[in-house]
Each structure stands twice: as C-alpha cells, then as structure tokens.
Amino acid sequence: MRYVSLAGLLFAFWLALSGHYTPMLITAGALCSVACVFAAIRMRSADPEGHPIELFWGAITYFPWLFVEIAKSGWSVTKVILHPGLPISPTMTVVRASQKTPAGLATYANSITLTPGTITVEVNGNEFTVHAIVRDGALDVEDGRMDRRVSRFEGAA
C-alpha cells in the first residue's frame, strides 16, 4: 500500500514536471517511478518515517494553521527588525516534545524553526533547545500550544 502510493506520487510528479504526454515519455516515467520505489525499498527509506501517508488527513488542517502562525510571528519579527531601537531580547530555552513517532518529532522541530523568531538549535531525544529572538517568543514555545497542535496532527492518523 505504501509502495503503491509512493509510486503513484512519483509518477504524478513526473507528469506534472514534464508537460509532454507522448506514449514513450509516459512509459519512461512509469518505469522510472517503479525503479525509484525499488531503490527506496533497498535504502529502507520507504518506511512510515520516509513516506508518512498516515499523516495526510492531519496535514490538510495542520498546514493552514501553520501558515497563520507563520504570518503572525513573521509580522512580530518584522516589527522588531524595523523598530528604530532594535528591541531584541534573545532567549534560550528547553522544551519537551510529546510526539511519539520520528515523523511527528521532525514536524514539531521543523515547525518551530519555520515560524520566524524561534529556531530549534539542538535536538536531544524529545528535548529541543530553542533560541528565540524575543523573550515572549520563548515563553510562547514553552507554553506548548504548537506541541499540542502537532500531537493532534500526529494522532489524526
């Protein structure tokens, strides 16, 4: 099931990028996708971590939420950058992630880094060291709102 969806996805990617639909090129694309899936199986990267199809339904609602978060924190960082006094108060903190799967942990760490104003500096098991440019950003991450949201996204499998 996972292999079939991976092959289908790769073939769709081929069709989208090529833009030419002659029988020869379509056959070549199908063969290439199947070969890629076999390579991925041999590399052991077609597992739930490498191709997490279970997360698809969660992702549909998670990504719009993440975009809103990015817009909000991006605007606050913009205000800090353009403020004449440059009021930065860099803070380092440690947060605990409650996700269980590697894909969930990676999503949480990447979401923290992707929102402007906070960066995951170090990952140690499920403890993330986070650097924030203003103190409120660090407190916001410690508050765990995003952690709960990512856990829900992970649990929506």
């Binding site: 991006g74 960082v77 992707l114 402007p116 960066i119």
Partner: protein, 120 residues
C-alpha cells in the same frame, strides 16, 4: 472577478517584496549570527510564500501553478533543515549566543552532553 484576482495578486506580490526587503535588511542590521538567522527566516517564509502566492494568482490554473507550489513546498521543507543545521554548527563551533535570559536551566531538564552531534 478578473479585477479582484488581479488586485489580490498585486497585493501579495507587493507584500512579498516588502517582507523580502525586511528580511534582507535585518540580515545586515542584526548584531550577531543567531539574530540574523531569525531575519533570514522571515525572508524564507513570508517573503517567498507571498511572492509565490501572488505569482500563482497571476498564472491561473495551469502546470505553472503546480510548479510554483512544488517550489513553495521545497522551500517549506528545506529552509528549516538548513537553519537548524546552521544554528547547531554555530553552537558546536563555540559561538556563544548573546542572551538576555538563559532559561535552559530553569525551564526544563538540562540537555546532557551538548557536543554529542548525534541525531536521535
């Protein structure tokens, strides 16, 4: 309808240009490397995202839109990886971030040996 799409794409592209400029300006203005990463992430997310959204509206529903969306997905998956690798490399190289408050000891358990370099 056509006019509304046109206006929206104008707005997105101008906002995207604004955030791109702000991010690059912060890259020059910020005092140290960790602070600079934050302004680079404004550029990577808001600037790129809004510019691509504006171009998508301009292109209409076609293969070009799909390619733009691939580009956006590529950015959203690779930008945090690069930023994280950069921040970790900085820390391990011994560059101390200038901190107003260090909550690593108070907020939670201390990370064990910081120079492990091993990803779980």
């Amino acid at each position: 309808m056509r006019l509304a799409v046109e206006l929206a794409s104008w707005g997105f592209i101008l906002l995207g240009s604004f955030f791109t400029l702000v991010g690059a300006f912060g890259l020059v203005r910020m005092p140290e490397v960790f602070a600079r990463m934050h302004s680079a992430s404004v550029l990577d997310t808001l600037g790129v995202g809004l510019l691509i959204a504006g171009m998508c509206l301009q292109a209409g529903f076609s293969l070009v839109t799909l390619k733009l969306l691939f580009l956006l997905a590529l950015f959203f998956f690779t930008a945090p990886v690069v930023t994280h690798a950069l921040a970790q490399a900085c820390l391990h190289e011994g560059i101390k971030p200038r901190l107003v408050e260090d909550r690593r000891g108070t907020a939670g358990p201390r990370p064990s040996d910081p120079d492990d370099g091993r990803q779980p």
